[in-house]
Symmetry: C2
Subunit: 362 residues, 2 copies
């Protein structure tokens, strides 16, 4: 947590302008298309620092056309969810990890620091106001998108003197409906040492659409991002990647690439590692994984499951990979698959069925 | 040039809404801080295609807070200048190269295609309307910033179904006042193979501010971007880089890194290569250049000059480089330096003093 000595806006100063009319809530929607009635905005400028945080009716932003976010991608975001428990209470899942990562992204983007607990306090208030938007049934939940953009109204490539932090919330719907197929090709690279791949900055995403489109032409839904001459496995689409296998030494292992600068430190990734280490039933590793190692494991029937993780997609089974003109069929998912066990444990915590200090009551 | 068979907006369809009041024009300003009275906007959506292009009073954009440019940097831009000649006529410099590059960036960003000559026609009209903003004196000129952003109002990471192309114009002022000092350190990487470094996409810039800030702490103005184990010289700040030297074989050479995917294909870069090849007085090469080669040339007094090039900065002498805890002092600029000769030739064309098919009358 950031020290409270940081100059920051304060949740206690929140000004709330309620919307005069509330929207109807559609039943089932695609991820990220239907937004709640209110949003949080906090402006900053270099002269006066942070301004009063404001909760106001959801609506368009008015931005100078030279705005540094629109030209130079001085921008970052976070993604977290709020769940309605079986006990009707609302819970966030490890939100301090999101606040911490957002602070790191802000530092990397040359955007100003803020007090993480104050931002979380503002988000709690926003959730309270729009709490009827958190679905009442099943595993559905509401997705929260903190966003932080440079709003400097001039074209020099430099640290912005103005910025806007805002938070919007939307129905999460279902992100991927089925098991995933991935296209693995070294011709596109998601992130590089010395770049920003370990921060949640906008620039990491815009460049990936073209590769995603090409993946589609191979019948795949997402890209499996490779790195380096040895075709290291890094991420899949916008997910962290896990292999559950019998490794080269014959040991059962859950493995995911290490946080070496090109991997996004996912909250779900961390939670899966933490859970599996607590279980202490097999080896849990942050280690380099290559396509060669994956292909060998497949051939020798050592792979148990490959899956992705992320806040939007949760835990997502990977069914096949197109790589070097072959369509690799991976082991099927069933109720014994590790991803099923992990998803159940996480869901039980998120919905208050099993007590956990990872959940945070709103 | 794109074929006219592309579905595109047309300059002939332009709707012009003139501003009821015109701003006063300040005398000397920093680059990119003071904008003209009007702007061009053209909207696109996947259902209806391109909408009617509109010239309207300069003002804020109204954007959905989930806008894909603000979250995923689905955005790109161009930069070109309009010059007032000694004959009072207004000239653009090789604008078709900017239109061509903008089309390539749009393809890479999964934004829709447009007819390059139609966009150029719209820009001409915008310049005509705001022509009093083109400075009457000296080398000053007006800077034109075409911008193209995804405006999809939802949070899925995907090809946007809405987009906005707009053009704003601003006083160019002076970009760098003095010779440049650069900080060369491999810890930050601007671009990488399989990325977007050869396109003018916003994501290439936001990640560089942090390194630029660190360069400042070493007393340098900009970063000299290195690449790979052998510390290849790639770009400097937002400029292409040239060495004028006696190369390893004893030949006089003007050299700049090749367009291998991580180098922005600068219009000024291309023009310098074209000019020098036309002169045919020394070897002109697009080749890899490493810090080791530069250091050897310095030691053996084979370096004549190092300079950067770009539309905003024009041709800019580099005076020193901080590298591996040494402050390398480079040869001084004087009236015999190649950068001076190049700047004079380019300026003479741009201001209509020497005839050139590179200029384009507005």
């Amino acid at each position: 947590m950031a020290s409270s000595s940081i100059s920051s806006f304060k949740a206690a100063d929140l000004v709330v302008q309620l919307s005069p009319s509330l929207k109807t809530k559609p039943d089932v929607v695609d991820f990220g298309t239907v937004f709640t009635d209110h949003m949080l905005t906090v402006e900053w400028n270099a002269n006066d620092g942070w301004q009063t945080p404001l909760i106001r009716p959801f609506g368009d932003l008015s931005l100078h056309p030279a705005c540094s976010a629109l030209h130079y991608a001085v921008e970052l975001f976070e993604g977290l969810k709020v769940y309605r428990g079986d006990d009707k209470r609302l819970r966030l899942f490890r939100p301090l990890l999101n606040m911490e990562r957002m602070s790191k992204s802000a530092e990397r983007a040359c955007l100003p620091a803020f007090d993480q607990s104050e931002l979380l306090g503002c988000i709690r208030r926003l959730i309270e106001i729009d709490q009827d938007w958190v679905p009442h049934l099943g595993p559905a939940c509401l997705y929260i998108r903190p966003t932080f953009i440079g709003t400097e109204p001039s074209l020099g490539v430099k640290k912005p003197n103005r910025a806007l932090l805002y938070v919007i919330m939307c129905q999460a719907g279902s992100y991927f409906n089925t098991e995933l197929s991935l296209w693995a090709n070294p011709k596109y690279t998601r992130a590089w040492k010395g770049g920003t791949g370990d921060c949640k900055m906008g620039g990491n995403y815009g460049g990936t659409l073209f590769a995603q489109h090409e993946a589609g032409s191979y019948g795949c839904q997402q890209v499996l991002w490779l790195y380096g001459e040895d075709h290291q496995i890094t991420e899949g689409g916008t997910m962290n990647i896990f292999l559950h296998w019998i490794n080269e030494d014959g040991d059962e292992e859950l493995a995911t690439p290490p946080l070496d600068g090109i991997i996004l430190p996912g909250v779900t990734r961390q939670s899966i590692l933490d859970l599996a280490r607590k279980w202490d039933e097999f080896k849990v590793s942050e280690r380099y994984l290559t396509m060669g190692q994956l292909c060998s494991a497949l051939k020798q029937q050592r792979l148990k499951q490959m899956f992705g993780s992320g806040t939007a997609c949760r835990v997502c089974h990977i069914g096949s990979i197109v790589y070097e003109e072959k369509n690799l069929q991976l082991p099927n998912q069933d109720e014994h698959s590790l991803s099923s066990r992990i998803a159940t444990e996480l869901t039980d915590m998120q919905h208050g069925r099993s007590p956990s200090d990872w959940t945070y009551l709103v």
